[in-house]
Amino acid sequence: MGRDQLSQGQDLGQSAQRLDRGAAAVAEDSSCVGSGRVDRLCAVAGPGVTAAEARGALERRGVRVADLPRLPVRPPEAIGRHPDFADLLPRLGRKLSIELVFGSSLKRGFRVLEGLRLEDGRRLDLAVIDEARQQAPAGAMHDDWSRVLSVLADAAQQPGALDDIAFWEVVELLRPLARLGYSQRALTEQAVRLALERGEAEVLAAAVAEEHEMLQTRDVAAPAATEPSAPAAYRPTVPDPGLASEPPADDRAVTAEPLQPVTDLQSRIIRSSTDIVQLSWSPPAAGLVSMRMAAGPSPWREGSVVTIRDVDGYGSPLRVTGVPGPDRKMTHELPLPPTRAFVTAMTVLGASAAVGRTVEITRGAPVRGLSVRRFGDEVRLTWTWPEEAIAARVAWQPSAVVGDAGAAPAGRQEQTCSRRKYDAEGGFSAVMGYAEQHVAVWAVIAGADGKEVTNPAEIVVPGTGIPVHYDIRRVLGFGGLVSLIRRRRRRRVRVRATRPCNLPDVVVIESRRPGIPLGPDDGTAVGRITRQHMEPGSSLEVVVELGARGPSWLACFVDPARPAQARDQVTLAPAPGARRQVR
């Protein structure tokens, strides 16, 4: 055996060892890889190692080599044109839109790689979506639920669009986890928890992990490529790693736009083996967004403008790399901080910064399943408590003033509800008026350094019409006497407003049913009141002539022929205890 041959043999032996070690390292983290990983393993093992050998080494270690799917970089068009779509699922407490269609049967398993298919063979099509729409739950979730299903129903018109949506949603759930450093096996388990078939979960996790590795490699190789392309004039004077690296891309008319604060910063805790906080915000038209994390709330009021120097003195910057989502919002995930923290969004433009919204982040889980039921001007809220909560803070204010940055919150009210009181009374009730209200509920937990509040759960309480009462009286005076003599059945209907309102057209209905009429179709119209503005305390009266024989019921209803918008402005109801039966 010559020296060359010996050397060649030693090289081969070393290559084989490197290949084996490399395959073992891959197997530690992955149960499935793509061809890119095989190529890298070949490169690590040495020039003499072929792809087939690398593939064999991996398979001996129990690692499957598969053709990885191409991952979408932007949402399917069917949901891309609905910016609010991405917000709906978190509000409904769901991860995938198909959960709303298939319900618990999805838990038996599904596949997405060759089109969405449930383990029981069912596919997603218009028929099952329509069926799900009919079974949409009533209550607070109804609107969001119906909205998701209607977007899906629209998408069903395009071939393959529903499959693309399902695929996109699964991928979008895994990508943030990859960015947080989840191992490929952890990604696989997350996908399996969604009820994705394990084989497909392994393939998708491999694809997401490989995509993430490629992005990281590209970022390291060419960091400037991912930097925002904003002019230097708008960069902060002090280097700030907290500046969001993905500002709004195209419509950045920087020089012309004023400094705008971020008013919709929200945080959401994603519970898993490693708890993650997801921040989301709409990028302002100009400037760069810097996130500052501190132990206390921002000393400035939302909407105020401060200098960069002031900003640097508050908390520490977060290294955020926002990713625009299908709803055009930036999102960023970070590990849940061990102690209570506040994150404030700062819009930096030149040497100034606009103070945006502050969110509080705590380890405690927020209340879940916040739902609402309205009883006139009284609103009852119910929710599911997190385990450790001892009370809840409930704040509400008319929706019209929410988001007015810098303005003092008008009409904002807040109450604390102890858990015991909530359990005893079956919820939290408060008189909130008739207008639409924006309600936020924070769970209060007993922390090591006193009481802490969790992230808020928020809900919008739909408004209800301004109450307008009516009552029915006898016709008195000479007219009444004449009616009595002529045996005519006449009554005076009086409508009274409790506050300023625009009364729509009203019809007075006479019904001969045994019970009171419940709608305008339950009898015949015997009178009308035309639409007009009413002031509180003012009343309108109309005398109606009833049929020849009694008894019959009288009731007023808003004219059903009017548009719904006009009808909903008032709630027409009889005055309590009003007599409505006419003999």
């Binding site: 039921r373 009284e378 359990d423 005893a424 079956g426 019970g515 009171i516 419940l518 709630t571």
Partner: protein, 398 residues
Amino acid sequence: MIALPFLPRHRLACPYCYETFPEWQIEFRCSGRPGPGGQRCEPGPDPQQQNHFGSTGDQLHTFRDIRHRRRSTCPDSKARTHTRVCPRCHSTFPVHFGRVNSQLIALVGARDSGKTVFMTVLMHEFEFRLGERLGASISGADDTTRSTFRRDYEQRLYEGHSLPDPTFPVAADRRGYRPPMVFRFKRRARSLLPGRTRQTLLSFFDTAGEDLTTTASTELNGRYLEAANAIILILDPLQMPGGRQRAAKEALHQDPRPEDDPYSVIQRITEMLQAGHRDRKIRKPLAVVFTKLDALWHEFPEGTPLKRPGPNGPGSDELDGQDVHRHVQALLHDWDGRQIDEYLRQNYSCYRYFGASALGAIPTPDRRLSGVPSPHRIGDPLVWLLAKEHIVRTVRGS
């Protein structure tokens, strides 16, 4: 004292077995303590209690003492006792029984109409909100009610978020028998003397839905209904064709059974009440409660009485009650229940409709709730019945 219709005033009704008897027949149960001579009585089987409630274990003996009403001395051991028991079923009477007003309230309805949930939530509401509103307190009047209500009903529903199991039929299995629950309703009396209170014992007999479908238990239930001062009839609108059509789909877990049809239930109850009496209207107050309104909530337009906040005055709000009565009456016609309205009109001289939701949400098919019950207008029927007996005030508008 109990005021039972058609009976002399000195007759009392046991709040557990609903049998009537004159006061002098009340018996005492030996305390089991040693008497002055060191003798003590030992427990033994109690055939009368076994006969009524199945096996109840060994008990100390009972004896009658017509000379004493509040306390007595055991003729065997000479030990003093103040434990008074029913001469018919040997149940221990609550303290003050016979000297305070008693109201026996029968809670009837078809199977799965929600009677037990209704009663549990009603008592819970009394303890917290209704009691405060009426200036009253309500508490279990005996150990069984105190322990059973907490353990078997309240904790299960409010902490376990789980609905109770179907109630056992009284005649089918004695061991599954659930005795009536007796509560003490105590409120400040309107008196010139400060601190005066007025007590009423409220006995609720929760019938099993099956009791109203078989003739085997008709006699027993007939006795309960006969002795009851008032009746709360729970009807499930989801058992009615019109109600089912309008209800939220997730509330329709099972198909209705013909024997649970509300009209059939009302007919059976009415026949039980009329048996042995002249052909005339029944004068017992009847509160007809349509439950599970959460399943129909989306059907009610804004401004209707059922969507108003419940009354919060210190009594039964007559105006609000009439509004709800008329509205539910109209809904009844919408739910294809016209014959029910007509039947009640012909057979009862004092009845009123109520609409309520005990849970405030639709439970899951496996009979679980996502949170605590969030009831709506659950107290209205009982407050109306108490007002009928002048135990609480009637107010007009609150």
